[in-house]
Amino acid sequence: MTEATAVTHNKPAKTRRGSNSWWNAVLSSPSTMIGGGLLLLIALACVLVPWLGNMDGYTTNTSAMLLSPSAGHPMGTDNVGRDTFTRVLLGGKASLTVGISVAAISGVIGFVVGLYAAYYPKIGYLLMRICDGLMAFPAILFAIVFIGSFGQSTRSVVLALSIVFVPMVARVVRSATMTNMNENYVQVLVNLGSGSFRILWKNIVLNVIGAWIVEVTFVFADAILVEAAMSFIGAGIPQPQASWGNMLYDSRTYIYSAWWMTVFPGVALALTVFVINMFGDGLREVFDPKRRR
């Protein structure tokens, strides 16, 4: 079989890609483009539409409770007469904010931890055992206990989830860095006496960043899911702030009478996470052609 491939492929496989060809690969990857485009669309809708339309998702209106979808309320109203469509958009803003914040914080910390854990094996061992310990807790339980200690607020949710997701990012960055540490060019640099800072931040970073971006994308999606689950059991973003999890929490009592209270925020949640996952899968194909299948 090896002979066959050697005969049929006339160009040698590229081992490293410049940033320019990365960009070209992103442009030619349909799932990255579609996923990224839809994500952008959802984000813009959640931020701009309530603002431009001057929509109100908080004032209760007892004369418009539990209305089914109509022209005035395209997604109906909830049990206290708030417009579901507005709250779905506002909830999306909250969910995306939490997701992006968590991805950014755990992404940066996890990147540094993973990089140095790979470079200094002893510190790395200790850091990785701490990561093992953190990963033994289901994200949602850790976050609930954290909130119990530090108070229920959006900030606590973001902090708790950032801590939970650092190990996931650190693991990926560490193993990618370790793979690179074994490459000849790094060994040459070490032998030439280059400092660790230079080796890590000038040489290895470029080869690790692809795997990191992919992982951070999945953390983004996971954070949104966990936040929704937390809010759904009443331990996430504090009420009455709109979030998809909070809306689903409200909907449970009315699941028999007002299906729209469940279906619209639920579909919005699943669709958003699906789009992010699609974007992440696309990025994985771009950055990690070996695993492309």
């Binding site: 079989m1 055992r129 701490i130 093992d132 310990g133 953190l134 990963m135 033994a136 807790f137 289901p138 994200a139 949602i140 339980l141 850790f142 609930i144 206990v145 954290f146 119990g148 200690s149 530090f150 108070g151 999606a221 899911l225 929704a228 689950a229 759904f232 059991i233 009443g234 331990a235 689903l248 909907s251 449970r252 699941i255 028999y256 299906w259 469940t262 279906v263 639920g266 949640l269 699943a270 669709l271 996470v273 699906f274 996952n277 699609m278 899968d281 695993r291 299948r293």
Partner: protein, 316 residues
Amino acid sequence: MGRYVMKRLLSAVPVLMIVGIIAFALSHLSGGDPARVVAGNDATTEQVEAIREQMGLNASLPNQLWTWFVNMLHGDLGYSYILNEKVTPTILSHVFPTLSVALFGELIALAIAIPLGVLAADKHGRLADKIVLAFATLTTSLPSFLAGLLLMILFVLQLKLLPASGFVYPSDDFAGYITHLILPAVSVATLQIALISRMSRSSMIDALGSDYIRTAAAKGLPRSKQLWGHAFKNSSIPILTIVGQSFGELIAGAIVVETVFNVPGIGQLVVNSILRRDYQMIQGIMIFVALVFIIVNLITDVLYAVIDPRIRERSF
């Protein structure tokens, strides 16, 4: 084999210690005063002081950690001052329904995901493969509680096929036990199906590309034997790994889904404890689930050795 199990058990000790330290730190590093929280807002300074003494908060922090850790090793996960009950027996009394949902869900997930993954690998690059991949991405995006809500609308409200909520102990009514479990179990299975089918697909693709499959083909073995007899055996270790690694998420999924279907398990205990601000209880549950996670991973380690003679050999 006994030695291998011992070695694995010993390697779990540091993780266990770190789990303990993290859980301890969570409750002791917050700015607030746990005794004040327990006593409530109306309590006098003397009452708070009495509770602080009772909770052992006047000892030095390392001392507290040590006592706490020793207690944990003795199976004592703390004391709920709000329920005035020990945490461990309360948790244990809620375990059965949660484990039923989780394990039944895992069984459903394995029964669906493994054939899907093997099929996708066999038809690699063709339509069936693409459908499986799309299905996996879809189920990754569907959180278990949302799956539960949607299943409830469909099967209970529209089709009126299955009981809406509640839990029946198998000793009372086995058929009822199963029918009440179906919806919650399918709900927690969604994420597992996604993870397991992706993993079995990719590890089967690796295995099918290996030399021993070529040998199996050259020996004249039928495709089914190549797939299940040879390739799957070698894929089962990565599949086992993902099952072990995602067990925590499975339990977490079960906890959230329980609140949808009103199953009187750990999830209900969590939600009630949140309402009661009983964080000792939730902390106990957190550690309990981490312990179960560690034990499950020990079991998967032992199963590796059962499957792979090379791992068995190294451990003797």
